[in-house]
Structures are given as C-alpha cells and as structure tokens.
C-alpha cells in the first residue's frame, strides 16, 4: 500500500487523477468515478467588460477527491516547510502558500500541461500542481542536489520546463512581462495554448504590469493575468496600497473577472472561461480573492498587521480544504474516515519525502560555475582559494 502510494506520487506529472485510484481503497463504490456532478460556486462571479461564466460547475467525484488529496498534500507540505525552516534546514526566504491552495489546484484542473504558468516567489504549491515531486521541493528548499534547480535556486526559483512551469521569481512584478513574453511565443508558434501569469495584490501596482498588459492587448496575446489577492502586500493591506483595490477592473480596456479564490471549483470554472476567452480575444485579468494563513514569509509573524481573529475566522468559514471536504461528505462520495486516511497518507508521503531529501547531498563545489553560460565558454573562474586553474579560451 505504502509503496504504491510512493509510486503513484512519483508519477504525478501526467495526470492528477492517476494517484486517486490507488490512493483510496474505497470499499463502497463511488457512483461512477466520472459521473458528472454539478456544484454551485460559493458566490457568483463579478465581471468587468465581459459576460461572467455561470455559477454551476461541472465536476465529478474523482475530480473532487483529487482536489481534496492535492490540497491536503500542499497544506501538509507547507506546514512541514514551516517546521523545517524553524529547524534551520531551510534558510533565507520561504513564502508559504497555505490557504491559497485552491488557486493552484483549480487552475491546473482547467488547463493542460502545454499551457504555461508563471508565478512569483510563493511557488511551492504551483510547482507541485504542475507535476513537481515532493522530493524536488524539499531538496531544493534545503539546497540539495536533488532539488528541481539542483539546489542553486532556492525557494523562490522553482522551475519545471517539461510541464511549462516557468517559475519562481523573486522580484515583485517582474514575472508579468515574462509571462506576456511566453504568451507571445505561444502566439508566434501558433500553439493554441495560453499563459497564466500570476502575481499578487502587492505587485498589481507595478508599472511593468500595465506596460505588459498594454502590449498584450495590442498584439492580442493569449495572456491571462491572475491576481492572487490575499489582501496583504507583506505588511501593507490592500486598501493602503491601491487607490482602486478592484484589481480585476484595473485593466480598463481588458476584461476582468473576480473569483472566490478559496473555492477550487470556482477557480476551475474561471480559468476555463479565461482560456477560451484569451484564445479568441486576447488578454483577460482574473482576480482570485484568497487568503494566506502564514505571514508573508517565515520572517513575518503575520499578526502585526491583522488580527488572529481574522485569520481564524477565514480558516473557519472559507478554508478551501474544508469546503471540498463538506462537498464530498454531503454528496456521499467518501466517508469521514476515508478522508482522514487520505490526510494520514499525505502526511506520511511528506515525511518520507523530507527524509529522502535530507539524505540528498549538497551540490559539488564545481557546481558553483556550471550553468552560468550555456555550454560554459571560457570564462575566468577561480576556486574559493583563488588558486584553481582558470578555464582557458579555446
């Protein structure tokens, strides 16, 4: 059982639905794994310059269970990262995504691996939803060789080229022009795919965002700008940073949609709608109304600019995992115990991955100089003691 879980989680890349059948051994048959189910989103969509999609989302039990499992995995992963950081195994910056998992899983459910996603530094869960393994995540966080960027990137630089996940960027807002560039390349190659460029409410005030939006609208690029509005730009609340916190309207001539980002099904519906729109009409802005439980990063307690009551209030009323759990239970798709078992398995998976990552070695000293240039041309490079032979020109 345990091995099949590990094997299943190791091959996450192709389909998120795959681990499900081996993960849950349901004794009571689900009434048709793929039998369609229609669920209403928590709140209707608000739109700007476009027709909002319908509130009723098509889904099926398999998908809901997958959502639950994936979000539980992400939640556990982030909490484990928290402990690792406090144990000083993760250093530097660590920005945790717990509370916002619904955006990652909902988006992934609506698109293919050929569509591109690019995000900022709160990228651990997006990386996992794009097919990254837990081992790659923890090894990279701890700076080991088995990490997705060979330990040289760190928390803010997760990338996965084969599933079109473009990272992982530290400078606020700089990823949005990159995302529009990805969309440009998609249009250039006539791929019929789209790019989701994610940014936060803090980045929404960056000039380069509007520059890139202007160019995308001019050139009709299939770019979808997704504002993950967790209402705080580090310590600054959105009403203190933006004159107009209606981020979905800030595109002016670009249509926008406001989505409840704690409802994975609403996110899925919105992303599907956005993809169709972008392929036909050019850029669109999605504002995901979401919330992060942790502070901005591990060095921010998260309680100096907001009350603990607010955090626990959101956790009680809007938690994405609880919403899916209630949905599953109310539709009788699984029992309480089965869901708890899933959570236990997920916890074990995470612990195993951490153990494995701890065993991965640190990068070799020579790795300091690899990948500076492609095909490493003859640069001067000294060893740490400045006596090592330089690379010489051909």
């Amino acid at each position: 059982m345990a091995l099949s879980h590990l094997a299943a989680s190791a091959s996450r890349s192709s389909s998120l639905l795959k681990p499900l059948s081996s993960a849950l051994s349901l004794r009571r048959p689900i009434s048709g794994d793929n039998s369609p189910l229609t669920v209403e989103t928590s709140v209707p969509f608000t739109s700007h310059q476009c027709e909002a999609p319908s509130r009723s989302v098509e889904t099926n039990p398999k998908e809901l269970l997958t959502f639950f499992r994936d979000m539980a995995l992400m939640r556990r992963m982030e909490i484990a990262a928290d402990s690792l950081y406090k144990a000083k195994l993760i250093r530097g910056f660590c920005h945790l995504y717990d509370g916002q998992e619904a955006v990652a899983v909902g988006m992934e459910a609506a698109i293919t691996k050929k569509d591109c996603i690019i995000t900022a530094y709160r990228d651990h869960c997006t990386f996992v939803s794009r097919g990254g393994t837990l081992l790659e995540v923890f090894a990279e966080l701890m700076g080991r060789q088995a990490g997705c960027s060979k330990g040289k990137g760190g928390s803010m630089h997760f990338y996965k080229k084969d599933s079109n996940f473009y990272g992982g960027h530290g400078i606020v807002g700089a990823q949005v022009p990159l995302g529009c560039g990805l969309a440009f390349a998609q249009k250039y190659s006539k791929d019929e795919t789209v790019t989701f460029a994610l940014y936060g409410d803090g980045a929404a005030n960056q000039g380069q965002l509007f520059e890139a939006l202007n160019i995308s609208a001019l050139w009709d690029l299939p770019a979808i700008l997704v504002c993950e509005n967790n209402h705080y730009g580090m310590g600054t609340a959105e009403w203190r940073a933006a004159k107009s916190p209606a981020y979905y309207k800030r595109g002016d001539y670009v249509p926008g949609l406001k989505v409840d980002g704690m409802d994975a099904l609403a996110v899925k519906q919105a992303c599907k709608f956005a993809k169709e729109h972008a392929l036909k009409n050019g850029p669109i802005i999605l504002e995901m109304d979401t919330y992060r439980y942790h502070g901005h990063s591990m060095s921010d307690p998260g309680s100096t600019y907001r009350t603990r009551d607010e955090i626990s209030g959101v956790r009680q009323e809007r938690d994405p995992i609880e919403r899916i759990r209630k949905l599953i239970l109310s539709h009788d798709l699984a029992t309480e115990k089965e869901l708890k078992d899933v959570e236990k398995e997920v916890r074990k998976e995470v612990d195993d991955a951490i153990a494995q990552a701890k065993e991965s070695p640190m990068p070799e000293p020579s790795e300091l100089f690899t990948n500076v240039y492609a095909k490493g041309l003859g640069v001067e490079s000294f060893g740490a003691d400045r006596k090592e032979v330089r690379a010489t020109l051909p």
Partner: protein
C-alpha cells in the same frame, strides 16, 4: 584554434580619418603587416561551419602586393564596385541589417522587437525593410515600455524563440535593468540549467554628436557585472555583421553594443556567410613596442594616434578587444608577453568602467610580464555636456593617446 589565426592577418589600419566626422566617407584602409613591409591585408574568414580560410580583401588606393591564393587586385577607385573585386561594400548599419536578415531567413525563430523597428524601419535604419519582408509578427513595433518588452523578449526566449530586443538608445535600457540583470542573466543558473535565454539585446550607445548627457551613456560599465550575459562591441562593418550573426546563434544572452557615430562607416565585406567569434579580440595592427587595447569608437582614435606614433618611431600593437565580457585574455596575454606595456583606451568612464576591469584582469594575470604600470585612458567621470568643445574633452582624443604611449615607452 581561431585565436592562433588572429596573428596571421590584420584587418588593416585606418589611414586618413579625422576624428570627428564619420558621415558617409569612404574609409581608406592601407594594408599593413609590420611597420616596414607593405603587403596586402588578409584576414580570417571564420565560416559558419567552423572551417577557416585566408581571404583577400583588397581595400585602399595603393597597388597591392600579389598574394598566392588571392584574387588579383588592381587599383581601387572610390566610386567603383567592380565585379572583379570579391565582396561588397556597405555601411555599418547595413552590415547589421544584412546579418540580421540572413539569420531571420535562416531561422524562423528569430524575431525583432523594439521601438520603431517595424514600419519606421528603425531609428538608425538597422531594421529597414525587414517588417515588409518578414511581417508584423517577426518585426514588432513596441510601445515605449522598455522594462516590459525586454521582459517579454526574455520570456519568449525561455520558450525557445530567439528575439532581438533593440533599445533605441542603450541608455533607455536602464529602465529594463532588472529584467536584464535578474532574469536574462540569472535564469539559466537559478533554474539549474533548464532554461537558456538566447536573446540578443542591442542598440547604439556611446558619446555621439552633442546628444546630451542622458543620450550619451556607456552601459557596458553597468552591465559588466551581471553574471550570465555576454557583451560584445562592434566597430567595423565586418565585425558588426559577424558579431550580430554569432550573437543570434549563441545560446547565451548577448548584449551587442553599437556606437551612434559608427553607423555610417563603409567597408567591403565578403559575400559569403561568416561569423565572428564572440569571445575573441581582433588584432587591428600588430606591433612590438606597446599594446593598445580598445573597442568601439575609440579604435579609430587609437588608429589615428597610431599614425602619429609610427611617424615618431613607435610600433604600437592595436587590439580591438571586441568581447567585453568575457575578456579575451588569451590574445591580450600573448600581446602583453610580447610588448610588456599596456595602454587601455576606452570610452567608459574612469570609475567602474571596462578599462578598470581590464586593468585588474591584466594585472592579476600578467603582472610579471609588465615593465610599466598599465595606463588606462577613459572618459571623464562627468555627465556628457552638450557644448561641443566640452564634449570633445570628455572623451579620449588621439593627442592624449600619443602622450600616453610616449610616457609608457620611456
């Protein structure tokens, strides 16, 4: 391998070029191999498939010495472009355009983005005609938003496209510094090698003709610390086309520095396909007494000073370093080992410029071979003034170069 051939041929010395007027004059090249013997110049054609051969490029008014494997030459007349001469004559900006056009034909992934590059044809006419030939999706007019369109170029490069981002003036790219430094330079490293960024960022920079402080900037000194990028500076139509093509074929991000005053240089370049090695310096004039390292526009000031120096009995070796990052320490080193004296002439400012880094690199590596401290002549650490006379004095003039060589060779 290519470095060995550097010493064999020389591109030639610039004979009668006044320092302040480059407009559409037919540049005369008189052939030189060493001080006393006058031979026809030959240079290495580095072909795209990596093979090399020596080719003759007859230029200049004087009768040429016959060389065994060359096309017979005859006296050049200024208006001529007779079919018996190999190659074709063109101006530097046309050479850049030719290189760009050939690469765009060769590789459909190459595209150009910049302000007014498309319908307008480019503010220095480098991209003229390309939009009509290749269409609006390959030659893109951007709004005035350097930060974002440089970022978009980098994003497109991450997927495999090969964009050329043009800064209308290099100084405008300061607005895109974050994208160039953090994303362009570092993504290959921070992604553990997953992404290459085969982008070319190019544009004219340098002190022009009374353009004012903000339009006379030398960005090579600001970008030289960014890890992961390559920087090259072109100075002749020949190396402009070669470097442009090499930059487009390189998997690394390359910043190609052109100079506003050099766009109208005329030269005869070969007809066949060739590229210049991005990491190599060019031996302009071999010599024995002193090594003069220079690049871009200062090359011409140096060559003018060289005439005076030759008349005074000195034999300077002039090297156009071309590759600003990384330095071609092999060629430079060989030269230092031969002459034991180094003069660096550059247009960057004294503080933190290319010359400063080069001085440090040579001192670190070749200190034992130096007979005298390195002299580095750079522009003054001032914003470039508008007034013509003042502007002249911010950059290095040939007279200063002569004085410096005399001082070095005492």
């Amino acid at each position: 391998m290519a470095a060995i051939f550097q010493g064999v041929g020389a591109a030639a010395a610039l004979s009668s070029l006044p320092s302040n007027s480059f407009d559409s004059k037919n540049i005369l090249f008189s052939p030189r191999r060493s001080f006393s013997v006058r031979k026809a110049p030959s240079f290495v054609v580095v072909r795209s498939d990596g093979t090399m051969n020596l080719d003759l490029n007859p230029k200049g008014r004087r009768a040429q010495q016959f060389i065994a494997n060359a096309v017979a030459t005859k006296e050049d007349s200024s208006a001529a472009s007779s079919s018996s001469k190999p190659g074709h004559e063109l101006l530097l900006f046309e050479a850049l355009r030719e290189g760009l056009e050939e690469e765009m034909e060769r590789d459909p992934r190459v595209c150009v983005m910049g302000e007014d590059v498309g319908h307008y044809g480019g503010s220095y006419k480098v991209t003229k005609g390309l939009a009509t030939k290749f269409g609006d999706l390959r030659v893109l007019d951007t709004p005035i938003a350097e930060n974002s369109f440089t970022g978009m170029g980098i994003g497109a490069a991450m997927t495999g496209l090969r964009p050329v981002v043009e800064g209308m003036n290099m100084g405008f790219l300061l607005l895109a510094f974050n994208q160039i430094s953090n994303n362009c330079g570092m993504l290959h490293y921070t992604s553990g090698g997953q992404f290459t960024i085969p982008i070319v960022i190019r544009g004219p920079g340098g002190v022009g003709r009374q353009l004012g402080a903000e339009h006379s900037q030398r960005l090579e000194s600001y970008f030289q610390s960014v890890p992961g990028i390559q920087m090259v500076a072109c100075s002749t139509p020949y190396n402009a086309k070669g470097l442009m093509k090499a930059a487009l074929r390189s998997e690394n991000p390359v910043i190609l520095f052109e100079h506003v005053l050099l766009y109208n240089l005329k030269e005869r370049i070969p007809d066949e396909d060739y590229i210049c090695n991005l990491e190599e310096a060019e031996m302009v004039r071999p010599g024995e007494h002193v090594t003069i390292l220079t690049y871009s526009r200062m090359r011409y000031h140096v060559m003018q000073a060289a005439k005076t120096l030759v008349n005074k009995g000195y034999d300077p070796e002039v090297i156009d370093i071309r590759s600003l990052k990384p330095f071609d320490l092999y060629t430079i080193g060989n030269s230092v080992k031969k002459t034991h004296r180094v003069l660096i002439v550059e247009e960057c400012m004294r503080t933190g410029g290319i010359g400063a880094s080069l001085t440090a690199a040579i001192t670190e590596n070749f200190h034992d071979y130096l007979d005298a401290p390195i002299i580095c002549l750079s522009s003054q650490d001032v914003p470039t003034p508008y007034a013509g006379r003042l502007e002249e004095w911010t950059v290095v003039q040939p007279a200063q170069i002569v004085t410096a060589v005399e001082q070095l060779c005492q």
